[in-house]
C-alpha cells in the first residue's frame, strides 16, 4: 500500500495504490494526515486508480480524510475508482458525502 502526493495551485492529489484494509489503514491515514497538514488544500483529490482492494477499513480512512478536509474548508473527491472499491463505497453510501467518479 502506497500514497503519492502531488500539489499544484491549491490542489492536493493523493494517489493510493495497493490494498487498503485494516492492516494498511493506520499507516495510510498517518501519511494522508501529514500531507493535509502540510498543504491545507482547498481542493483535495484521492486518485484511486491503483487501489485494487478496499474494505470497510477504507471507508473509515475516507470519512476521516473527509472530516479533516472539511475542517479547514476544503473539498474532497475520489476519482478513477475501480469496481471493487466502488461497490464498497456504494454499500456504505459514501457518495452522499464525497463526489466519487468511477474508473472509465
Amino acid at each position: 500500500m502506497r500514497v503519492e502526493a502531488a500539489y499544484a495551485e491549491g490542489r492536493l492529489t493523493l494517489s493510493l495504490s495497493g490494498e487498503l484494509d485494516h492492516h494498511a489503514a493506520r499507516e495510510i491515514m498517518r501519511e494522508i494526515e501529514e500531507q493535509l497538514e502540510l498543504r491545507l488544500p482547498g481542493d483535495c483529490v484521492l486518485d484511486l486508480a491503483g487501489l485494487t482492494f478496499m474494505d470497510s477499513s477504507g471507508i473509515a480512512v475516507l470519512l476521516k480524510t473527509y472530516r479533516r478536509v472539511c475542517a479547514f474548508g476544503g473539498r474532497l473527491r475520489a476519482e478513477h475508482v475501480r469496481a471493487q472499491p466502488l461497490r464498497v463505497l456504494r454499500a456504505a453510501g459514501i457518495g452522499r458525502l464525497i463526489d466519487v467518479t468511477a474508473q472509465s
Partner: protein
C-alpha cells in the same frame, strides 16, 4: 446440499493475515468460475469477518482464527470464520449499520457490507467463548464460451 470440495486454514490474529485469508478463499472460490465482481464480493466479506476477529475478538491478545470454506453442488460457496475470543453480547446491535466499539478507525460498516455482498449471513456468538460467522454466496452459472 452435497459438498463438492472443502478447505480449512488457521492462523494467528495478526493483521498481516487479513490479505492472506481473503486471497486464499478467493483462490478456492475460483473453482466455481465466478465473475470478477463476485470474487471481489467474497474477498470483501472475508476481509470484514477476519478483521472483526482481529479487532474485536482478540483486542489485546493474539488468538486463533479458523476459516473454512465449502463448495456446494448448487454453485454456492459457504464460508465460516471462527474465533475463540471475547464474543459479542448483543449480535443485533453489532449488525446495526455504523455501530462500532472500535472508535474513529472503524466505520461500523463491516456486518452491513457482509450482509449486502453475501446471500446469507448467520452469526453465532457466546460472550467469553467466541464467535462464528457463516456466510453463503451463490455464484452465477455462466455458459461456457459465451
Amino acid at each position: 446440499m452435497t459438498e463438492v470440495n472443502s478447505m480449512k486454514i488457521e492462523f494467528p490474529s495478526r493483521s498481516a493475515n487479513e490479505g492472506f485469508a481473503r486471497a486464499t478463499v478467493a483462490c478456492f472460490a475460483a473453482q466455481l468460475d465466478p465473475t470478477l465482481d463476485e470474487l471481489g464480493d467474497i474477498k470483501t466479506a472475508v476481509s470484514e469477518a477476519v478483521t472483526n476477529c482481529i479487532v474485536h475478538a482478540y483486542p489485546d491478545t493474539l488468538g486463533r482464527i479458523r476459516v473454512r470454506a465449502k463448495l456446494l453442488a448448487d454453485n454456492t460457496i459457504e464460508i465460516a470464520v471462527q474465533d475463540w475470543g471475547r464474543g459479542i453480547a448483543d449480535v443485533e446491535q453489532a449488525r446495526t449499520p455504523l455501530y462500532t466499539t472500535g472508535g474513529e478507525e472503524r466505520s461500523g460498516m463491516g456486518f452491513t457490507i457482509m450482509e449486502s455482498f453475501m446471500d446469507k449471513l448467520r452469526v453465532r456468538s457466546t460472550p467469553g467463548k467466541g464467535t462464528t460467522v457463516v456466510m453463503r454466496r451463490r455464484i452465477s452459472v455462466r455458459v461456457r464460451g459465451a
